[in-house]
Amino acid sequence: MTNDQIRVVAISSLSGPVPGLSASAAAATRAYVAFRNATGGVCGRAIVLQEADDGTDNGRYRSLVVSLEPKVFGIAGGFSIGDVGGIDVIKQTKIPIVTAPSASAVSALPTVYDVNPDYANLNAVIGKYRYLYDEGARKVAVVYLAADQSRAEANNQMSLMKAARLEIVQVQELPIATLSYDSAARSVANSGADYLLFIGETNGNASMARSMADTGYKLKFAEYFSFAYGTSFLQNAGTAAEGTSAWLRTLPNEEAATNEEMARFVTWMGRAAPGEAVDPFAADAWIGTKAFFDALEALPGPITRESFVAQLGATKTYDAGGMAGPIRFGAKLSNACVIGMRVESGKWTRMAPAQGFLCA
């Protein structure tokens, strides 16, 4: 960092087995920095953003941290699948990081701050499931792809469901090489579930929605994990998307006009990364980058890594200017704030709550 520049790096998973996996997150970080530089930078300094690709590889992430750590002030935004590989060097170098880490083991590190932190208590009733229970959901089918991240998410959600007295009547792991989701959908129908939680990748979401529609079985709630929102889900699932839902931790793009930060996010994504998906990955990366520079600007004294990390830790609540549901940022805990969206007439529309976020 110099008197007129502050250098940060955003590490994303751009190449590897799924090319472009975090392209929207990388684009959102770029967009935020472009916006911030266009409005005077931070603490009187221009932000220099270095973008790096971890190749979806833990070792390469580790190596990037080792080699870039002496050259940058910290790591902001982006989204990396390989970040677990950097645990020991992050601990060692104490480099400040604000992002959405891929695993709890990373967000638990003292210098890492998470814009999508863990639930405070997996055995507590959260607003989302209270709402679903109140709306008549009783029996849940949980279906997910057999991948590390999906398993972890499914386990968390099942604990929270049980806490809300939702009965899990069916759990299915699907192989990565699933061609047809018809039998999985039939199993859901046979289970008598009235609520489906499906955790898969974008294409899998659409395929499962179409298979569910083919069964003719009526679910009260058919939730497709948040990746369904902002991606090609609507286009791919077609009419089968009708009535399905997704839960977001940020305001939906459709409500950009109601919030200044959200409007800025959508506008600058269009300017700095035209054509890139404005999806939950992008929203997290924007919020992570914003949180990084907001904390930097709020620093009362000289800018050092130690003081910056202390500032991050002292931030009690953070909601990115109302763009996201508030989180206990310094404590690295979620308030489980979400917005339920449902597809109606081919468009995502707000399902719950009427305004604001449903929190724990």
Partner: protein, 636 residues
């Protein structure tokens, strides 16, 4: 009962998918002796081209199907036949690697040409018509799938037993040499077989893709499940292959019947392991094909260096790595580490395949086990952890070898692949093994010196590699090494001579497993943290491919494999626009080096020997005269 009927229908539909894929595999294998790992990739590419014709260019469905299945695919089959002709008479492992290379190449083309981020929903071939049985809507496409599976089974049988071409095909299958003497043109027969095989793969791809969102990986991997069905038919019988395919489809789908299937977390993963288990059981229980009496012996191969020379080479490597890793930028040092770690994995393959001719596809499972033990013992960063990882992997390798040791050739490869598939679901997929967020693996401190930096860790990896390289030299010079050479050249002859073939095989499985486990510990240190998904069996196939390109017969080959792997990773990371091309380059390299068992390392040493003949005269590279070769028999 309704539920039973529903999932029986799903089972039949899934079974028909497997049947079409497996019959193509069986037909090609029968006539050409090549187990075409690329069968799924051919179907995948056909589905993508069908989408382009049908959706992008508005070609009517029947015309698009005919163009793909009856024109494009057979033409591609002709091309592949020409390619595979070069590999006539090579050992099964080489032909297996060539088809793996073909898979990688076709995947590379698909990723390059068809943006994976773009959704491609293939319209149903026969429209949205459907019938409903027991609340299960069955589209006409799915019915067509079953009908096509039956028609293909009968059609192929009619072809084989009712036409002159079929008679020639069977003649080649029964005895290639005799058929040649009888005037049967084996090239023509092989060409027809490849054309039909490719047409079936394309037909399968187009049929499976109807109504689905295309995914290159999913379509390519789907055929892996059909291997078990092909083995039920002993890779020869089409009716039994269909029976196997339907049985597998039914078992998989009936495991969804709530009152039949147990519940619980273990069973969730057990269901996913069914295709792997089916393959293992099929290979182990179905009587194996007749024993191979021999193979082409006397290939050019590296002379085993003396202990002194091995030590000198190892020291040179360690010094070379120390210099190289400090000469490159800090961002590039990770690629030096990657090169040595992958070279160590490849070295475990040199020990197994290079020394004894055995092909095990569980190697990446062993690497994963080594990484797990390393991360779980002694704080995750101890040398003891690495050695224990090696010991655990050696133990597992022996357990794999014990039932598989009576097998050879393709049967051994497929049974170990099945074990790897089962291991992926039941061991690596168990959240208690690597944890849901991954298991941290550290780098050891040696004599008070930390290997935390990439530069220091590269040197440590080079030391480990060097030790194993010297060890492999010692094994080669030992009585076990000579026994393994005999086993590699002809198992039957070795047994006839009184050699303890099984003991030798189990011993080399253990040695190779130990190296793979230690390589896993190094891999963990390189990655910092490991997850089950990093040890996919398919990744193991790719490493086998690199080992062949580098040279499966020598330590130098393993090193070249590592360097090549790291170099291509570097290229892919630096020039992301070359992503798919990197795959294609590897595939092309593997195919062009297919007849060169000593790989790039062998070629390099040949060039050196030509420039500096005295090196050859000093016996560092031995070219055995081709007259040593003797085709004693042929495996089927």
């Amino acid at each position: 009962m309704t539920e039973l009927l529903q999932f029986t229908l799903f089972g039949l539909m899934l079974g028909s998918v497997y049947a079409i894929a497996a019959m193509g595999l069986v037909l090609t294998y029968n006539v050409t002796g090549v187990f075409n790992f690329a069968h799924g990739a051919v179907g995948m590419l056909a589905a993508f081209f069908y989408y382009e014709l049908r959706v992008k260019h508005g070609v009517p469905t029947p015309v698009a199907v005919l163009l793909i299945v009856l024109l494009g695919a057979p033409l591609a089959g002709v091309g592949v036949e020409r390619l595979m002709r070069r590999f006539q008479g090579v050992d099964y492992a080489t032909s297996l690697v060539v088809t793996v290379a073909l898979t990688v190449g076709l995947l590379g083309i698909a990723l390059r040409v068809f943006d994976p981020g773009q959704a491609r929903i293939v319209p149903a071939l026969l429209g949205d018509h459907r019938i409903v049985i027991a609340s299960v809507p069955i589209t006409f496409d799915r019915i067509a799938q079953i009908v096509v599976a039956v028609l293909v089974a009968f059609g192929l049988r009619a072809l084989l037993f009712g036409t002159p071409l079929g008679a020639r095909m069977r003649a080649v299958v029964d005895d290639r040499e005799l058929a040649l003497l009888s005037g049967v043109t084996s090239v023509f027969v092989a060409r027809c077989s490849w054309m039909i095989g490719f047409a079936l793969a394309a037909l399968g791809g187009v049929l499976f893709a109807g109504g689905q969102n295309l995914s290159a990986i999913v379509l390519t991997l789907l055929v892996l499940n059909a291997y078990g069905a092909a083995m039920i038919g002993r890779l020869t019988s089409l009716p039994m292959t269909v029976v196997g395919a339907l049985a597998l489809g039914l078992i998989q789908e009936l495991s969804n019947v709530s009152w039949l299937a147990p519940s619980g977390e273990f069973f969730l993963r057990f269901r996913l392991a069914i295709p792997g288990l089916f393959l293992v059981v099929a290979v182990l229980l179905v009587p194996s094909a007749r024993l191979s009496a021999g193979r082409v012996v006397g290939r050019d191969e590296p002379v085993v260096p003396t202990l002194r020379r091995s030590l000198l080479y190892a020291a040179g490597l360690i010094i070379g790595v120390a210099i190289a890793v400090n000469a490159v930028s800090s961002e590039t040092q990770v690629y030096v580490v990657t090169a040595i770690v992958i070279a160590t994995v490849a070295l475990s393959l040199v020990a197994l395949t290079g020394l004894s001719g055995q092909v095990s596809l569980t190697q990446y499972l062993l690497v994963g086990l080594g990484a797990f033990v390393m991360g779980s013992v002694g704080g995750g960063d101890s040398i003891g952890g690495m050695l224990l990882g090696g010991a655990a992997a050696a133990t597992l390798a022996v357990l794999v070898a014990l039932p598989a040791v009576r097998l050879q050739g393709l049967h051994l490869a497929l049974s170990t692949f099945g074990i790897a598939l089962v291991g992926r679901e039941l061991v690596l997929g168990d959240p208690r093994v690597f944890g849901l967020g991954g298991l941290s693996v550290g780098r050891p401190t040696i004599l008070g010196m930390s290997t935390g930096s990439d530069a220091a860790f590269a040197v440590w990896c080079a030391i480990v590699f060097g030790v194993f390289a010297v060890g492999i030299g010692a094994v080669r010079r030992s009585g076990l090494g000579r026994q393994l050479t005999a086993v590699r050249d002809s198992e039957l002859a070795a047994a006839t001579l009184g050699l303890r073939v099984r003991h030798a095989k189990v011993a080399i499985f253990a040695v190779s497993g130990f190296i793979a486990g230690c390589a896993g510990a190094l891999y963990g240190g390189l990655a910092g943290a490991v997850q089950g998904s990093q040890f996919e069996p398919v990744n193991g196939l790719v490493i086998l491919l690199f080992a062949y390109v580098g040279g499966i017969t020598s330590v130098a080959g393993a090193l070249v494999a590592g360097i090549l792997f790291a170099g291509l990773s570097y290229t892919e990371a630096t020039f992301s626009q070359l992503g798919g091309i990197v795959f294609v380059a590897v595939a092309a390299g593997a195919i062009s080096l297919g007849r060169q068992p000593n790989g790039l390392a062998g070629l390099g040493l040949d060039v050196i020997a030509r420039w500096r003949p005295q090196l050859a005269l000093r016996g560092r590279w031995r070219a055995q005269p081709s007259t040593d070769s003797a085709l004693v028999g042929q495996s089927t």
